[in-house]
Symmetry: C2
């Protein structure tokens, strides 16, 4: 069950299908759309003789999840839950942002701002990852969070905010690729060079980040790894005898592209 | 059954689910992925008690389609086929490009080039639509096709080709949004203003075209209309008594955005 508009979910689904194939299972999808809520989609899938459920980005409440887990094996991908009987596979978002901070500090950056993504669990984890990593590098005094909402438009607004200041930060880490791209566009239009004047990073390693003309440094949630662990969790319950709960937390992967590093990196001696 | 990576298919699926809901039917999806071919996906769906099939961008051969149509009602979306018993819903691609040419000519453009998308049925229909529309406007002498392959990279190459000429065309119509975006990016980086120096249009009305910083004039294939007609075709066969074949060809819709029109349109008197 996936959000049909999410390119990250699309990659996950591809990998889940390939992994299920290798294990001799078939996959059918229920699509969560604006008119079709998650609970209804799950009921349809169960009515079609599905033996197990893999939920991507689920927003079901804990009681509903617990009820589903009594009817079939359930794996939740991407979200924290301590619901009994429900397996979890996710990446460590805070550590992902921490890796971007490490990368930028190693390139000599110190004035590193964060473009936040609002109050959801995932943007909150990313914000905390940023502040922790800044403190770890002795940059507590440089912590600077501009609030946004994960949209391209909020990235554009953040760029206006930065351009109105007397001094730009040397780098900005956005909470996702989409807002990073809005930021990038407004900065480039204002004649700011990236990564020369300012480095920019996103999060998700989405199709947008990979476009050659954007070529955005970002963090991958490793859909292949998540798919493999999720299918393995299901197979262990269906074919094996596992009944204890698993909670897999995977390491996110830094993907360095042109927006932070053009081969003429800042000197290490610029670091504080 | 859909290509899980296609944003156009994602929109279609949303609309199909909404329309099926209204008719009291449930939808499950089979995802065509690099490891999972269309024929296998169809068999899985039929084995799950599916009563009918809607195929998006199907590449099954005519014999296979005919065989499927004997097992369940089949609607193909987007592709021509004269296969007995198979219903078709698609848009008229040639007329879609023709509408872009009409729009540009009305703005005063005459040197209008086409960035082609290769030898597939759909790019061929779009290329023919361009040459026919140019002739219709008395611009046969200005017909200029640069070949590409629907990728962002081929759009970038086309921009290099144009920039190496002594004179730029006044407008370029690309065979899809993705190649239009590569073209746009290279032109903007070379200091060419859009739409001032050159107008650019794409095709598909994809998520990329809608991004605020791209804001691309394009052609919509009206996923809502296609979904409605496809579900109606299925319902007529399941609940009604229709057995004659339907072939619905919908009118594509021009979506004018910033890359062809910034409010300071070319004067009509510039027209030939």
């Amino acid at each position: 069950m996936a959000n049909i508009r999410s390119t990250f979910h699309a990659e996950l689904v591809e990998d889940i299908v390939a992994e299920a194939d290798r294990n001799g299972y078939e996959v059918v999808l229920g699509a969560v759309t604006p008119t079709h809520a998650e609970a209804a989609v799950v009921e349809t899938l169960l009515s079609y003789r599905c033996e197990a459920l893999i939920l991507l980005g689920s927003e079901l409440d804990e009681a509903t999840l617990a009820g589903l887990a009594q009817r079939a094996p359930v794996v939740v991908i991407g979200r924290r839950t301590s619901c009994p009987g429900v397996d979890v596979v996710r990446t460590a978002d805070g550590r992902g942002i921490g890796k971007v901070v490490d990368h930028l500090v190693a390139l000599g950056h110190n004035r590193i701002s964060h473009l936040g993504g609002g109050s959801g669990t995932i943007p909150s984890d990313r914000r905390t990852g940023y502040t922790r990593a800044m403190r770890r590098h002795g940059l507590a005094g440089e912590i600077d969070v501009i609030e946004g909402d994960l949209t391209e438009r909020s990235g554009m607004q953040a760029a206006e905010t930065l351009l109105a200041r007397t001094q730009l930060p040397t780098a900005v880490i956005a909470a996702n690729d989409q807002s990073a791209i809005g930021l990038l566009d407004r900065l480039l239009r204002a004649g700011v060079t990236v990564p020369g004047d300012i480095a920019v990073a996103g999060y998700d390693d989405s199709m947008l980040a990979k476009l050659a003309h954007i070529d955005l440094t970002t963090v991958s949630q490793e859909p292949g790894q998540q798919a493999q662990r999720a299918v393995a969790a299901i197979v262990e319950r269906l074919d094996g005898d596992r009944s204890d709960r698993v909670d897999v937390v995977l390491e996110p992967l830094l993907v360095v592209r042109h927006t932070t590093s053009d081969g003429e990196n800042l000197s290490q001696s610029d670091a504080p």
